[in-house]
Structure formats: C-alpha cells, structure tokens
Symmetry: C2
Subunit: 308 residues, 2 copies
C-alpha cells in the first residue's frame, strides 16, 4: 500500500484548492454577473457572498479536483464543478442553521446568516445558491461534451435532493424526535444521505469529468462512500471531544439534543475502530489507480483525523 502524499504536500494542495475555489466563487458572485437590464438584488447577493466566501476547507471542491486529476482533467473544469457543489453545501448550512431547523447562532466562528440578516433573507439566499449551482454545473467550460455536463447535473440533483442530502436532513430531524417518536434511527443510513451524498458527489463528479470506465467509476464511488461515512463519524467524535474554538461552533450540540449518533451507537472506541476500517476500505478501493490515488488516500486520512 502506498504511504500517500506527505502531510505537508497535502495541506498545501488543500489550501491551494481552497484559494482557487474562493476565486471562482468570487467571480461567479461578482456584482457584474447579472446583465445590466436586470435589477440586481444587492441584499441577496451580499447574503450569498457572506455565506459562501471567506471560509471553509473547501473539502468537497478538493475531492472534485483530485478525483478529476486521476484522469488528467484540467483543473479549471473541475474547479467550476467544485464551485457548484460548494454552493449546494453552503445553502444547506444556511437552511440547517435556521431557527426552524437547528437554530444555530454561530458558523465558522461568525454569526450565522439569519443572525447577521433575517430569516427571509437567509431562506432566499439558500434558495438562490441552490439554484445557482445548477446554472454553474451546466456551463460550457466544464466539458466540451454536453452529455458529460448533463450527467454531472443530474447526479448533483440526485445527491442533493430527497434521496440524498435534503432527505437525510429530514430523517435527521425526525431522529431528534421532532415529529413524535419515530422508532430506532439507522444512523449510517441517515448520514449516508445527509452528509455522505455530497462528499460522494465530489468524487463521482471527478469520475464523470474524466469519463471513467465502469470499473474506475465503481472504485471511486466505493471510496467516496467510505470517505463520507468516515467524515461523519469523525464529526460525531469531534462533537464529543472537540473544542468550540477550533470548531467555530459549540461542541456537545448532539448530546444536548439527546441525538443518536455514531458515537452513541458505537461508543468512542467503537467509532474510532470503525473510522480505521473505513480508511482501509477507502485505500483498498483506490488500488486500481496505483500512485495516482495517493492524494485521495491522504484525503481520507485527513477527513478522519481532522480537528474541526
């Protein structure tokens, strides 16, 4: 098994993609992007920028860029798809933070959007970012073959929608007993949809951009699923063990909600063991790519060991 890229190399690659994603999103959300004859709702664009610029590890765009790189896809193409995915991620955080949902005041160490503005602006900014993602992912620069862009678009809708992220958030709220008792919660199932689906999209988007063979696609899909679950378990562990300053939000939120998580189901040690198994699965899935899979291997480890 490869030892993967060095930690320092990995960190600088991650930072570079975060910077590049910031640049793409800044351009996409610049005041001038709307034709002059359309009134620009400045309040809306300011809100979209507030929640999508200036922060975040940009892990999902990183996964697009690095899985696309396995196939030699131009970085600029992958960055645009990554920006679309990040729009979906940012919208989901805005809506999840609303008083009607998780009622969170802090995100990345700053007031959440509805605290900084108001609920109506936050709802609309989320809607606009979600919609913008589908504008971006259809753009000609992403791939010369319209069929590839169409597959990228459809997969994004499926990973983000009722069978993916939105459906997972609904199940997650139900698991908190919001709508009455719902019986035992299948945490793995809920999180595969709520958190896993967008991480998985990052990886399969790279495969679609690279016009992967069926076997290559399956390998990346397996990797993406393992990484997605490892990410969420690490998140649950951080909620128990992390500190608020590093997280940029209060720790212990799950316990306060009496929420079923991987940690309440498996215990801390069991959860750590499960993460280790998932990293091994992720590594093994990438074997057909040899050294070309090293950065993705390092990404799985990074996700599992991160401190925020």
């Amino acid at each position: 098994m490869s030892t993967g890229a060095s930690t320092k190399d990995f960190a600088s690659r991650l930072d570079q993609t975060a910077d590049d994603t910031e640049a793409v999103l800044t351009k996409v959300l610049a005041d001038g992007v709307l034709p002059d004859e359309i009134a620009r709702p400045k309040r809306l664009m300011d809100a979209m920028r507030y929640s999508s610029l200036g922060g975040g590890k940009r892990l999902r765009p990183f996964l697009v860029v690095e899985s696309a790189a396995v196939f030699g896809v131009h970085r600029e193409q992958a960055l645009l798809v990554g920006a679309a995915l990040e729009c979906i991620h940012c919208y989901s955080l805005i809506h999840d933070d609303l008083p009607a949902m998780d009622n969170s005041d802090l995100r990345r160490g700053r007031p959440t959007l509805h605290k900084a503005t108001d609920d109506a602006t936050a709802i609309l900014a989320g809607d606009a970012l979600l919609t913008l993602a589908f504008d971006i992912v259809t753009r000609d620069e992403i791939h010369e073959d319209a069929t590839v862009r169409l597959l990228l678009t459809r997969a994004l809708a499926r990973c983000a929608g009722l069978g993916g992220m939105v459906g997972g958030q609904m199940l997650d709220l139900a698991g908190e007993g919001r709508f009455g008792d719902t019986g035992p919660v299948d945490v793995a199932r809920v999180q595969q949809m709520k958190t896993g689906a967008l991480l998985r999209y990052g990886v399969i988007a790279g495969a679609l951009l690279g016009q992967a063979t069926q076997k290559e696609y399956k390998a990346l899909d397996d990797y993406g699923r393992a990484l997605g679950e490892a990410f969420q378990i690490a998140d649950d562990l951080l909620d128990v063990e992390g500190d608020a300053a590093a997280l940029g939000k209060p720790a212990g939120a799950d316990a306060a909600l009496n929420k079923t998580t991987f940690v309440t189901q498996l215990g801390v040690e069991g959860a750590r063991k499960r993460v280790a198994d998932l990293i091994a699965t992720a590594d093994a899935s990438l074997s057909i790519f040899g050294a070309k899979g090293d950065v993705l291997r390092a990404a799985a480890r990074f996700v599992a060991e991160r401190k925020n």
Copy 2:
C-alpha cells in the same frame, strides 16, 4: 388577426394539460421512485405531494406544452419539462408562505404546508422540490439531443434564481419596507423577475424543445414577457376586486401590507388599459406563427381575464 381558439376549446385544453401534469407529477413523486436501498423519508415526500398535487391551473406547464406544440414537439416531452417547472413554482409558493416571508395560512383554499406540518418540513419540502426540478429536466425522455436538455436546464436555473424568481422575491420583500426604506419601487422590474420569469420560462422552454430559429425564439420570448406582465397586473387587480372564495386566499393582502403594485401605480383603469396593451403585444408577437399561435393567443387573454 386570428380570433383564437374558442373559449370552450381553450378551457378543455387547459384542463387536459392540468390532468396530464398531475399524472406526471404523481408518477415522479410516487413512493417507489427512490431505489430500495435508500431510506425513503416519507414525511418529506408526503409534504412534497401535499403542495404539488391536487390543485392549480397548471398554467406554466400549459405554456410549455402549447409553445412546444407550435413546433410539433411530442406532448410527453413537453409535459415532463412542464412538471419540472411546476415543481419550481410549487416550491416558491411553499417558501413564500412561510412565517418569515409572507406568513400565509391559506393557499388554494387549504392550509399552507407549514400550517399543515411545521416550518422545518416546509423548508425542506421546498428545497427538495426545487432540486427535483433539475433532476426531471435532465431526463433522457425529454429530448434525444443532450444539448437541448442542457439549454433547458440552464434556462430554468436562470429564470428561477437570483436574476429571476428568487431575486424578484427579495426585491418584493424589500419593497414592503422589510429591510428599511429602499426608495421608490420599480414594480414592473420586480414582477418581471418574481412572477414573469417562470411564465416566460414556460414559453421559451417550448421554443428550446422545438429547436426554434432565432426569430421564432425572439417572438415567443416577447410573447412570454408580455404575458408575464399581464398576469401580474391581473393578479394585482384581483387583489383589489376579487373575492376570497374564488381566490382560495384572502383578498386585499397587498393593501394590508401597504404594498406598491401595478394598481397603486397606475390606478384600476390604468392597469386595465395596460393589460389590454400587453395582450395586443402578445398577439402581435405571435404573428409569424399564423394560426399555430391561436392557443397561445387565447392563453394571454385567459391570463388577463381570469377570476382567480
């Protein structure tokens, strides 16, 4: 100038497309649509069905079907695009009705979704319908040419997003003085985005499906813009003159909000005159299609003279 289809013919065509749209949406939102391995968030699908099935004139799908029919496009293809558009329309109503936005309790004579369930479910059902629209509009059955489906997808994102419907809703809320004084409101501009953009999409979607020439596309686009404005002015007139039973919601809501509308700007007579001018513009725009444009001509008249 053609006299257009008879009123009876028109009404039965509209009803038929409403029925067919209902059938398509029912199928798209059936329990079985998600693969068995994915947990089905029943609460979410029930909410999506509550707000998208069993009602509405389905005017937007009708515009898709009838503008596509000008080019001889198969009805089934247009109905799918119409269903995608209707998902967007229904999501926008769900979010607009929320307490944080228009705070409406009634819609089509029934409790709004957040009254029938709760705010979290309504936010997520809206998000899921918006996302589903982009799943539907990419489907293979819509057109054999992927480029056509891609153009349909991109136009939908642009008409629905920050430069279209969502942006218009933001400007509309600002016009109510929600975020402090914002100066004079350009009602035509706001409504062109908030209401007009989706109606216009219905018409240009037909042109895209029919692979219209540039001249034909422009003609339909002009028609769609005129129809969109006529629709909104008729809406403002109904708010002043309509009765709650026919509307399925309280009349006089605009006046209660002290809102700037076409009627407050033009007066009742001025608004009626403007509608008549717009119908003439819509008629004239369709001249290149001859008798093939008759149903669309009747649609413009229907929109202007409707009672709910």
